[in-house]
Symmetry: C2
């Protein structure tokens, strides 16, 4: 077998069975090897941000890494923004990046670049194979690095000749370096903090936000009266009826400060202390009250669910948690058409087990509110703040979870960083419904402009924030990519279209014209 | 004035009067400053690859740097692929990248990343300002670095507080570090090589490929019988009737070897020795014949046109050069519809002074051939091999050269990396005609698959190279972005549509369905 086949066989042996790909010439042997090896599914993206965002969505839903296949430095570069988001989500991903043949690099041909340099800012592990004989071993190490708790990005750079030259064999999977148990004294410290007088909260991230772990957190809350919190951009949160609810930290600095006012101690489970997303003149960056005690129950690489269970035991918290009641919003049948009424309609119609890929910025808050007591579902947030995550993430979530309905909330601004994801949805027949909040603006920037102190923006400034002139026809774009699409300008039309999308399978886009 | 205003005033003072922008919250003060300062035009791109590719096109046509305005690490990352192409084109560009406020970075908020790390692989100069008081001086240095011969990428990272805090003043422009004269002994060596017996060639790049410099090269050729060559991906070439013609080095390794067979010496003017774009099993990387002498007349940072003029003088080459005759191809009126007949139609109709932004990969060769003796025009190639350059480059070329018709050749594959450029064409009313060769395939990869030795690709491999299932409706996409568009399925329809586009101004897309 050649190096490429040893790569693919090792990926499969290591439990990687999906490859999101946008290959080029230097990756042709890997592409050729896909047909020689059973057990790996290749999904084509027409832009690398689709490929990396899909790998992130796949990891968040499956808990396992997908591989990406990318074409040299610029191909990797096009995928970096969503790798930044994936890094912030602690999603395991194995990037396979082709490069020039080892002996060809000396000529500095046009596509040559510092591939490792591009990879480093997003990768916990970077390696270039220099021989086909080490490709299999390097691949096994890359998968192990990606799966190391809490999940990391591993980038393996493979010169083209390591793919086409003869290799020895595939490599066996290496042990998964899973999460470590939280130390007993951390559990004791957290228990003691929560038993003390004063107002307390538990801020969770990672697996601690799955329904079963939230049950333990709920018992702790029932016993101690602590609040249960998650980050504004928690990578994944199970929520809805029957699941213990957590409060999401708001976005703006001054809102966070108010939200946390009076807190005497905060227990962290896989999370960092809450701070502002951006700095603003005269507004705080650090958002905890003065003197608030910070207790680390579990770091991100430690076992958050296990720590919560141990904490509940240590507190003798055996009573039932308060689980979210099942209350659906009314399906709106008239009135204004805006993010609020759209949220009501989505809340009323979202099916059980759905996945929300949320890249809706200013528009998705009302949907979050309206789904809070709805049918249980999964919420995936924009972890790294780099817009353009929503559509690719939905692709990956749908590949990982073919039995779930995926709903992608995006804006006419954010969606335009990676619209090519629509084509992959069409090709793969993915069960994704995309809702585009078409407000004809970078709405968040209109808000931020004033907040940073630009009080009377002139016409040039306003032009930088406005997406009208011309308006973007999202339904038209979707049809160009082969996705069934419709426009809604009233809440009745939206509700009809969304209900229809929920009843049927396959990709679908609804452009909600609220601008 | 605040730091942001000192930035914009210094840019204008340094001769930078266009800013291609995709700003976010950390750049809002810079956006606000655009209205406070006369003399800078801001052009919005809805994806950063559009922004950086446009800056490249602007630089190639104007010879001056534009600024880009990008949002932290991920925003810069989205622009890296076209910055790679710009680096290979030696295009001067000043990237302004916002970052978190200096005091905010310690909290590692979601959008924090190693911005300088992302910048380094493409930037000759990288600097982070740490005080509003140095922003003006740092900006002047950035522009100087970008303009240093032969043109470089300078990246200035500006934490948000350096924008909003008080600065002292703008800075004056620093001297431009222009090209140095080629040393006299280099001219003597080149003259001697070209006078010697044997077959010789002059390989040129950069300003040496402008019409006036080519005139000197043409006199050298008339005197010595040398061939005149340019790289496959020369950043900019003046060509057509009345201009001295150069032969373009072919793309594939074995073609290059054949093309250069028998050469005894090659004189380099701002170019490197010709090598293969990719390595292939059993094919050469180094493409010059054994024993071929390499003479550097001028390095890339040296004055190529001056060196050619001095060389002509040293050779006593005062006779008139052979200039390209004016011969138009016949406008095809029937027969097959393919890249060849499309090339004929473009060749017949392309107006004088047009700019061709060429991202057409396998499809644009016939157009190059058919325009060789046509009305004089400018050709811009895919310098770094990272597809997705063509549409953004056309945006920048049109902004720099409002009196020229810009024709963008792209494929249904390559165009999809940066289709958002169409929106900027619509917003700015740019005079760009886009021809999409819709062959429903990554055609070049179908060719390369066999060339690298994958002889019987299976269904998974084929799926990675095919853009049908579903087909991409390029005309539909263009309409979604607000650009007038049409489809052509016959050569008559194409010729009619292209003729109409040449007669009228404004953005226009023609989807040539040849798949």
């Amino acid at each position: 077998m050649n190096g490429a086949e040893s790569l693919v066989r090792t990926l499969v042996a290591s439990g990687v069975d999906v490859c999101f790909a946008n290959p080029g010439t230097s990756e042709m042997h890997f592409v050729g090897a896909l047909d020689k090896v059973e057990g790996i599914r290749a999904v084509l993206g027409l832009f690398e941000g689709v490929v990396t965002g899909a790998a992130d969505g796949y990891a968040r839903m499956s808990g396992r890494p997908a591989a990406t296949l990318l074409h040299l430095g610029p191909g990797l570069a096009n995928g970096l923004a969503n790798l930044h988001n994936a890094r912030r989500a602690n999603s395991p991903i194995v990037n396979i990046v082709g490069d020039h043949a080892t002996y060809h690099a000396q000529y500095d041909p046009p596509l040559a670049s510092d591939v490792a340099g591009f990879a480093r800012p997003v990768s916990a592990w970077v390696h270039s194979s220099l021989s086909p004989r080490t490709v299999a071993a390097d691949t096994a190490r890359a998968v192990q690095a990606a799966r190391a708790a809490p999940g990391q990005i591993a980038t393996l750079i493979l010169p083209a000749d390591t793919a086409w030259l003869e290799a020895e064999s595939a490599a066996a999977a290496l042990p998964v370096l899973g999460s470590s148990p939280a130390p007993p004294d951390a559990i004791a410290r957290a228990a003691s903090a929560l038993k003390a007088a004063g107002r307390t909260a538990v801020l969770m991230r990672g697996d601690a936000l799955r329904a079963s772990a939230l049950d333990a957190a709920g018992r702790v809350a029932a016993e101690t009266g602590c609040r249960l919190l998650c980050d504004t951009f928690a990578p994944r949160l199970d929520r809805g009826a029957g699941i213990v609810a957590v409060e999401r930290i708001p976005y703006f600095a001054e809102q966070i400060v108010e939200f946390l006012t009076g807190l005497d101690s905060i227990v962290l489970v896989g999370a960092k202390p809450p701070t502002a997303f951006f700095a603003y003149p005269g507004k705080p960056s650090w958002c905890l009250p003065d003197g608030c005690d910070i207790v680390h129950l579990a770091h991100a690489h430690e076992d958050g669910p296990g720590a919560l269970a141990a904490l509940a035991d240590a507190l003798g918290a055996y009573g039932p948690p308060e689980r979210t009641p099942f209350v659906l919003p009314e399906l709106p049948t008239g009135g204004k058409f805006n993010a609020y009424s759209i949220g009501q309609a989505i809340g009323a119609l979202l099916p059980e087990g759905a996945v929300i890929s949320d890249d809706g910025a200013t528009s998705s808050g009302p949907t979050l509110a309206a789904t809070m007591t709805g049918r249980p579902h999964v919420h995936l947030a924009l972890t790294g703040g780099s817009i353009g995550q929503g559509l690719p993430l939905a692709v990956g979530a749908a590949v990982a979870s073919p039995d779930r309905k995926v709903v992608c909330l995006t804006g006419d601004g954010s969606g335009l960083y990676t619209p090519q994801a629509l084509w992959t949805m069409a090709r793969e027949g993915l069960d994704v419904t995309v809702v585009v909040f078409a407000n004809r603006s970078y709405k968040i920037l209109n808000v931020e402009l004033g907040r940073v102190g630009v009080t009377e923006p002139g016409p040039k400034a306003n032009a930088m924030l406005t997406l009208s002139d011309p308006e973007i026809g999202w339904a038209t774009l979707a049809r160009g990519f082969g996705v069934e699409a419709s426009e809604a300008a009233t809440i009745e039309a939206f509700a009809d279209q969304f209900a229809d999308a929920m009843r049927n399978r396959g990709p679908r886009l609804i452009e909600a014209v609220i601008g």
